[in-house]
Amino acid sequence: MNTRGDFNVVISDWLDDKAGRGAPDYLDEILARTTRTRQRPAWSSLERWLPMQTTLRFAPVPRLAWLLVIIALVAAVGVALVAVGSKTRQLPPPFGLARNGTIIYGGNDQDIYALDPLTGATTALITGSSSDQRPWLSQDGTTLMFLRDTTVIDPVVGGLEPMIMVARQDGSDVRPLTGALANLIDAKWSSDGSKVVVSSDVDSKPRSRSSRLTARPSCS
């Protein structure tokens, strides 16, 4: 037993000798058990469906791969920081920054005009024989509300009762929102531009009511 080879031979011989030659006599017992045992269906083994390796060898990961992973992570963090830092916070209307837009106003000729503050140019939006005044843009700037004199005479103050009209901000699609209003006190847009709240006298008593724009003038 001086060398490894000798020792292996000794071990093999000894095991062979120790194992003996006698045949076991319990095969019938085993077969009796197997006849009572049902075989598992082939599909019940997960290994038949999923390719899997039952032994696992860990491959060494080269240092360069780790370095590339770290560089990629640092770059990703940098990009994320730049993206977050440079992003301008945009508030939804009506709280966002105002854009340079037209100023809508009522002219002394009872027509509605738009003034471009950058160029100073004036454009007539709503003209005609009717008497239109006091325009208000909705807060999103898409819809215009203004007063138009009706032919109904106010019984208290004696003037013509106004009605509220709406139009697109460019003066198109003009249509009435209310009928003649007695002693109109105020009118305001709701913040989402879907309704107009009107305060006026009803039967000689001040009342407020809201009128919904069932179909808003479409934006161009």
Partner: protein
């Protein structure tokens, strides 16, 4: 021939399985006796192995690897059996009475005893790897497959098991040599 039997047994042919079991029984029983060092335990392990083999044979993907698969089942059954009994039994190792070697026969007997003791001190898992390689003559790649471990692990485990056996033999033989030289007298 064996491949055909395996294919038939996979399809539920019990006679084919009986032929396979009969051919493998002595080999399995001897290996189990060597691993477990107890004929009754070995019988239980072999029975469990063959019953499992019959039950799971349809799930065997590669019929040509039937033998390796059977060896794997046997090793598992042996280790399970050893663990089961380890919970209920205390092994008492008897210290050998050293006698001086006077002739070849006595020397051979003493060597066998040393091998027996060295082998007995190993864990069942280590005995299994020695039995698969040195008794069943399986090459190491097949031993690795039978044990479900990587080849490198099989090599190192076999190396450690043999080294441990050699160390046990060397330790056993030292007092005897010293006794024969009169150092302990």
């Amino acid at each position: 021939m064996q491949l055909e039997l395996v294919e038939r047994a996979r399809r539920g042919d019990h006679d084919a399985f009986a032929a396979l079991a009969g051919a493998a029984l002595f080999r399995l029983d001897a290996a189990a006796r060597l691993i477990l060092r107890d004929p009754d335990q070995a019988k239980d392990a072999v029975q469990e192995t063959l019953v499992r083999a019959w039950r799971d044979l349809p799930t065997l993907r590669s019929p040509e690897r039937f033998d390796a698969w059977l060896h794997r089942l046997l090793v598992r059954a042996c280790i399970d059996e050893a663990r089961r009994l380890r919970r209920h039994r205390f092994d008492v190792e008897l210290t050998p009475i050293d006698t001086a070697a006077t002739n070849d026969h006595a020397s051979s007997t003493a060597e066998r005893d040393q091998l027996e003791r060295g082998f007995g001190r190993l864990q069942p898992e280590a005995r299994a790897i020695i039995v698969l390689h040195h008794y069943l003559d399986l090459p190491l790649p097949e031993v690795a497959i039978a044990l479900g471990i990587p080849l490198g692990t099989a090599k190192s485990r076999l190396h450690r098991a043999l080294q441990s056996m050699r160390a046990a033999l060397d330790a056993d033989s030292r007092p005897r040599a010293e006794l024969s030289e009169g150092r302990l007298a």
